[in-house]
Amino acid sequence: MNTLVCIKRVPDTGARFALTSDGQDIDSRNLEFTISPHEECAVEEAIRIQEKQGGSTAVLTLGPEVASEQIRESLAKGIDRGVLLETDGSEWDPQATSQAIVNAVQSIQKTGTKYDLVLFGNESADSGDYQVGVRVAAALDWPCITGIKSIEFQNNQVVAKREAPGGWELFRLTLPAVVTVKEGINVPRHPSLRGIMTAKKKEIERIKPAKPELKLLKQNLRKPQEKSGEIQILGHGIEAVPAIVAKLKELGVI
């Protein structure tokens, strides 16, 4: 089983962040960068698949040279090799991004590595477009399923599960396939020190994709008003019970 995981370098904003003065970006000067959480789970899933089924794993990202940091982090956890689709750091829309990924997958396939499974996170933590995985699958003409929280293999098919109210939806996909996964599918491992040291020696292939004309243009970003919590004291001791019950009903909890 050869698995490719597509990841995105995103700012680790935590609770607080600021925008650049032109409103075009998040001010990243004091921010750390990370892998989108869903994609961290996709990386973990790929390593687990390899542990069970054998085969190879690779991780791919489209972004500036510094995004190799996120590739190395994945290599430190156990992914075999990395592919960086190197850009000048400017924004690529989902259409352009997926086209570059498709081109890369096809050119790698020509060199002999046939991917059976391409994993994405369900959506990226920054722009949250929900598009790239689906677009890649459509362009490759591979089956695709999104929002997945469990992956198994039976007779050369992927059995994927998606959480639904009160149960699970079950899907069977023939390989090769594209699956986008959601946090909760697994608990990602921490990189081990040995993993960090060996990651240095693993190969990162660099490809410079041509930037296509962007059709989706960002106007600007606006920071939402910070929500301040409100504390309401409903009463003290046992006398507060009716007020609590009324409030819970109002909130639709009971």
Binding site: R72, H190, P191, I196, M197
Partner: protein, 400 residues
């Protein structure tokens, strides 16, 4: 040229530690709050740690060891991480940035493997060193005696050669992890004449297993930090086989001196990590706490305290990184390690005092970790060479 960029490898180590601490250790802090906050819950009658708390500490050490972080300072050939001093300094700092909780057990301390044990023979390394690196067993470092603290030229513990073994008599005190150690590293005088004449030679280091007849753990001392850690080691005609000698006879102390710098830099890194933690806590508290109608962070007194703290922390951090870098270049850092240890621990002590002040009464309550850092900060000015001993070393390096 000094390169102030952090290497990619160091950044990854820091991130790896963060991932481990935030996801695996901090939730344990929450569950074990009562042991961390209250020595009455943490300690048995005799001053030792209650088994429940010991198990949690053990859990943190073992999981960290499994990931390879616990013994990252040891060479790769025996299962360590072979990380350089700058990397180790950044790692300790990062771990202690999370405050005085269970995170402090992530990287090894006095209970863990030290380069001194690399002098053991192959079979002895298998028996003692490798399990230490895996976090499966623990040790203690027995040097201080009732009459020999700073004045380590006044050791009274003796070891006499009898056939192919040595007989130990004497006592050690304030030894960290003594009560729980599976074996002790003990310094004893084997050549009193040379020791008297030269001070550093004539002392031999031994491994003494916990169950060796003639060896017992004495009183566990209660202390300002009450970590159940410090106890006495008592030797009464304790027979130790010659294979338990660490390194060569008569040179134990001399070789141990070579690693003094490492211990000092580690203490400085811890102080710097804790100082970061305090500043974060203080900024958070000062912006939230209001007095006389505005947040106390708006008052010049408070702002001044925090501004000074941040500048002092910056100074300490640069000193540490420079000394660690110099050590990585293979240069001697006798003077620098004393300067960094003295400056960083005193910086932390000042910051801890201000942190208490900024938190008011809450700064003194056990509910918040501030008073715990304050107490720890006081300890760090004594261990691994007191303030005065560091200043003596610096003065000597000035030719005084």
């Amino acid at each position: 040229m000094t390169d102030f960029n952090r290497s990619e490898e160091h950044q990854m180590i820091v991130k790896g530690l963060r991932s481990f601490i935030e996801k695996d250790v901090l939730p344990l802090d929450e569950e074990n709050k009562k042991y961390l906050e209250d020595e009455r819950a943490r300690l048995n009658e005799d001053g030792s740690l209650v088994p429940e708390f010991k198990r949690v500490i053990q859990q943190v050490r073992r999981s960290s060891a499994k990931l390879g972080y616990y013994a990252m300072h040891m060479p790769a050939e025996i299962g360590g991480g072979a990380i350089n001093r700058v990397g180790i300094a950044l790692a300790y700092k990062e771990v202690f940035r999370y405050g005085p909780g269970l995170n402090v057990f992530t990287l090894s301390g006095a209970e863990g493997p030290s380069p001194m044990l690399l002098q053991l023979s192959q079979p002895q390394q298998e028996k003692f060193l490798k399990p230490l690196i895996r976090g499966e067993i623990s040790t203690c470092f027995g040097l201080t005696e009732p009459e020999a603290g700073s004045d380590i030229k006044n050791l009274k513990t003796k070891a006499e050669r009898k056939g192919d073994s040595y007989v130990l008599n004497g006592m050690k005190t304030f030894i960290s992890n003594a009560a729980d150690a599976d074996f002790a590293q003990v310094f004893a005088v084997t050549d009193p004449k040379t020791y008297k004449e030269q001070g550093y030679m004539g002392v031999t280091a031994f491994i003494v297993e916990r169950d060796r007849p003639g060896f017992q753990v004495g009183k566990i001392t209660r202390s300002i930090i009450d970590d159940g850690g410090q106890a006495e080691l008592i030797f009464e005609n304790c027979r130790v086989p010659a294979e338990n000698v660490i390194g060569q006879e008569g040179t134990g102390f001399y070789t141990a001196m070579g690693w003094l710098g490492i211990g000092r830099l580690n203490i400085a890194s811890m102080s710097i990590g804790l100082a970061h933690y305090l500043i974060e806590r203080c900024v958070e508290y000062a912006t939230q706490r209001t007095a006389f109608g505005k947040p106390i962070s708006k008052y010049q007194h408070i702002r001044g305290m925090l501004a000074e703290s941040a500048a002092e922390l910056y100074a300490a951090e640069q000193m540490l990184l420079h000394a660690a870098w110099k050590m990585d270049q293979g240069d001697s850092i006798i003077q620098e390690s004393s300067m960094v240890k003295w400056y960083a621990t005193n910086m932390l002590f000042r910051l801890a005092d201000r942190a208490v002040q900024i938190h008011g009464a809450m700064g003194l309550m056990k509910e918040l970790p501030i008073e715990r850092v304050f107490r720890t900060a006081r300890v760090l000015r004594i261990v691994e060479g007191t303030d005065e001993i560091q200043k003596e070393t610096i003065a000597k390096s000035l030719g005084l």
